[in-house]
Symmetry: C2
Subunit: 511 residues, 2 copies
């Protein structure tokens, strides 16, 4: 399906463009000259042009800030000019902000930044977009190891113009691997120590502790209803609030990693959140939630299947409730778009803005929804043999999810860029993992029930699952990493498709 | 150094040639036609020609057998014709073998196999050598993913003509991954259960067991000298004899894997033997040699450093002896070339052949020598902090080894093909492993000596080692996998360099 999409889609600027990083520094000439001489030497027939990436200079930053302020203040100003309505909050009518009437133009005319070209040479980043005559040449240039130093002249097919994460393009390629390792370590630490602060804060909501810290609320807690609320409800609210911080933190980590496209950043965050969810929701709950001892399971990896076989059935009720509460509720929230709704109410009634917002278009949050779906898949697989009562709930969930997400993707979210199924390998791997885990648990359960014959017969199933995975890896995974050259030999014209990147680059220099 | 070698070396047929496997089957035309149409479509400017691989037909096999027999019997025949000397063994002079005088030519003229072309079409393998005009085009064609099905049109730079392992070229590419997995499992099983049969056979050499099986040798064993020989010496002889079977078995496994070149086969065997040696010589000896319990260490992976820290010093004497006996002795054997010497004696005095053998030229046995060297490196690293007495012996060994191997490589062994440092990553990885293992043992030792401060200070050392390894991987390992394109843009002419493969293919069709 990915290949059919790529072949069937209209020629896109990204198909003809290669992103090159790690351009070596030369004393004699600029990066731009280096790129030109390199590609006109090695790709003389197909090289068309290139567009350097510029690091934002201080003047650019000032200009950008000015523009931003202008855009924020303009609606307020026009409103005040039009009607002189009183402020919603304070009731005053004074024109607090006096703005120049000709806005952006005045800023531009005063500074004439566009003529500051000589300084730009110093601000060039060692990265560029290189445009080729045809898709085939771009695919070849993206796949071939260019230089004998693999840290120089690193090429890859460029992401779509809207997909480019401009501010990360300036990161020197040499740093990227260090960043990746550091982020990996931070993410691992985050996954494993996440529950310590949470349990600590939850402990603080115990009535005794609360009274110890704030003696004045002793009287309040004597009310039975409030006491129940604090002891029964507050801890789980705190856990959920902490859980809501995970996606932004993982997104931040993926940004620090130095991904050059938004889709890569989302994919990287998606993988991190998936690991986080599977570990902190599934394993920690199953392994009796003794958070302090969660590390000790690594030293007893041999007994893990047995422990899972014992513990999974006991947690079946909890997981069924989890599917009902977290799963079904999340679909309702998805339909309501509560966050956007609140933002809108705030904007309309507190900020009293009447203009329809233009840049509120939402993109689908793959990085939060895919891990959730895969977690439910894992629950369905592992519980199916021990507590199949969860399956009807999951079936209803998946059916509703299909309708809801289909509606949302078709009518609500805006598709700015296409990653052409780059998330599929994550789904595939997680599903295989769930399947194998289920089979391992089945072996352990059957061994526990003293039927070694049935237990032994399940082992070939595991081997077949792993072989199937290996086959899929050999047969399909390459296509997600490298674009096959065979498809695009007939495409020849570029037709000014580099425009998207040049406009993007100009707009985003200062981002 | 690898790059310098590749760039500096004379243009070789392999530099202009790409080996393509997994050619899709078509009902309309032969594989040869498919190759021609594919490459003249996608590489119209640089494609020169191709050479199909043929599966040996029955007639070819007969021809080959006839040739082989002729080659074996010819010297005998000429000798008998010349002098009618008596046979060395039986003393008779009868001309047992009557051969046609015109040998090879008669076989060829009678069968006229060379005109059997129509049947060859059915015997084509889905693999071919494709020749390009310049090195750059070959490098590009080898690196680009050709087809949307990664199992079809799989390209790689061709090995050198002498390096090609012809009989493996016919293996369908789809089988290769299954073969790799099967071989990996067999090799793993071999590494882990190797010592069970050996201990079993060693047990059989105990006098009681021997007497139980062969009561007649009871009297013989009463001799003190023979008894000592049987109980003290025989077990280690059996172990060494079993150890000598390891390289051929690993080579066989690597052949079954489906490697298309001799150097790949050797490399694969080298890795397997390295794992075998490190596991069965180092770990099994250190972990007190309780062979039955060797699997249990995986369940106690956390205590492994502690166990190593306790056990390594106790085995220091054994390893020092091992360096002396196995290391120094192996160098002496290497110089003597005992095996070749015995073969030569057999040939001369038993078979009474006087002609100098032509095809006895030895190639350097990388797959046995590199693991040995790396094992001694591991011993040096790990024992250096606990029993540094081993170091002078190792120093002498490495100094002698330098002289001996230098002499052997320069004057004894024949270099038929160059893999341009393909073994270096193995050496690098094994050395980093030794280094990190040493540091882990150091941490455990310092923790045991109750100096947590010093123990903690060693941990950053491990991190730095791993980071260094990661840097090397990023910076250099790519060059061992893909040839950089930048180097060969100026090479243009092919100049009939395909000849090597065509001759090779003709000679080796039936191998």
């Amino acid at each position: 399906m990915r290949l059919a999409y790529i072949t069937g889609s209209h020629p896109n600027p990204s198909h003809f463009t290669v992103l090159v990083r790690g351009i070596p520094w030369s004393q004699d000439h600029s990066y731009s000259k280096s790129v030109e001489s390199f590609f006109s030497t090695y790709y003389p027939d197909t090289y068309v042009d290139h567009q350097m990436i510029y690091r934002p200079s201080t003047v650019h930053k000032l200009k950008k800030d000015a523009k931003k302020m202008y855009r924020i203040l303009r609606p307020v100003e026009t409103e005040y000019v039009r009607g002189d309505k009183p402020c919603y909050l304070c009731g005053g009518t004074a024109h607090t902000f006096k703005l120049l009437q000709n806005g952006e133009d005045s800023i531009r005319s005063q500074t004439s930044i566009d003529e500051l070209h000589p300084t730009q040479i110093e601000k060039e980043c060692p990265a560029a977009f290189v445009f080729f005559k045809n898709r085939y040449a771009a695919v070849v240039a993206a796949q071939v190891l260019q230089s004998s130093n693999p840290m120089l002249w690193v090429t890859q097919l460029a992401p779509e113009p809207h997909d480019v994460y401009w501010s990360n393009l300036g990161i020197p390629y040499k740093q990227v691997w260090v960043r990746k390792i550091v982020v990996l370590l931070i993410a691992l630490a985050f996954v494993f120590v996440f529950l310590f602060p949470v349990t600590l804060v939850q402990g603080l909501t115990q009535p005794q502790v609360l009274i110890h810290w704030f003696p004045q609320i002793k009287e309040v807690l004597k009310l039975k209803f409030l006491n129940r609320l604090v002891t029964g409800y507050l801890p789980s609210v705190i856990l959920i609030l902490f859980l809501y911080t995970v996606p932004p933190i993982m997104m931040l980590l993926s940004r620090i990693e130095g991904n050059v496209s938004r889709s890569d950043r989302k994919k990287s965050a998606c993988i991190k959140i998936l690991y986080f969810t599977i570990w902190n929701v599934f394993f920690v709950n199953v392994l009796s939630g003794s958070f302090i001892n969660q590390m000790s399971i690594f030293s007893q990896i041999k007994e893990l299947p047995m422990m899972l076989a014992k513990q999974v059935p006991t947690q079946a009720t909890f997981f069924t409730t989890y599917v009902l509460s977290s799963g079904w509720a999340s679909l309702a929230f998805e339909l309501l778009q509560l966050f956007a709704l609140i933002c809108n109410i705030l904007r309309r009634f507190i900020l009293r803005s009447k203009k329809e917002p233009t840049n509120i278009a939402l993109t689908f949050p793959h990085h939060t929804e895919i891990p959730r779906l895969l977690l439910f898949g894992l629950l369905g697989f592992t519980l199916s043999i021990l507590a199949p009562i969860i399956l009807p709930f999951l079936l209803v969930y998946f059916f509703l999810a299909f309708l809801v997400y289909r509606n949302q993707i078709l009518h609500v979210y805006v598709t700015k860029y296409e990653s052409a199924g780059q998330f599929w390998p994550i789904v595939h791997n997680a599903t295989i993992f769930s399947l194998v885990l289920t089979q391992v648990i089945a072996v352990a359960v059957l061994a526990m029930k003293k039927s070694p014959m049935a237990s032994g017969c399940t082992i070939p199933l595991i081997i077949i699952s792993l072989l199937f995975n290996e086959y899929c890896r050999k047969r399909f995974s390459q296509v997600f990493k490298r674009n096959p050259a065979q498809r695009w030999i007939d495409e020849t014209s570029n037709g000014g498709r580099k425009k998207g990147y040049i406009i993007g680059c100009d707009q985003n220099t200062a981002s």
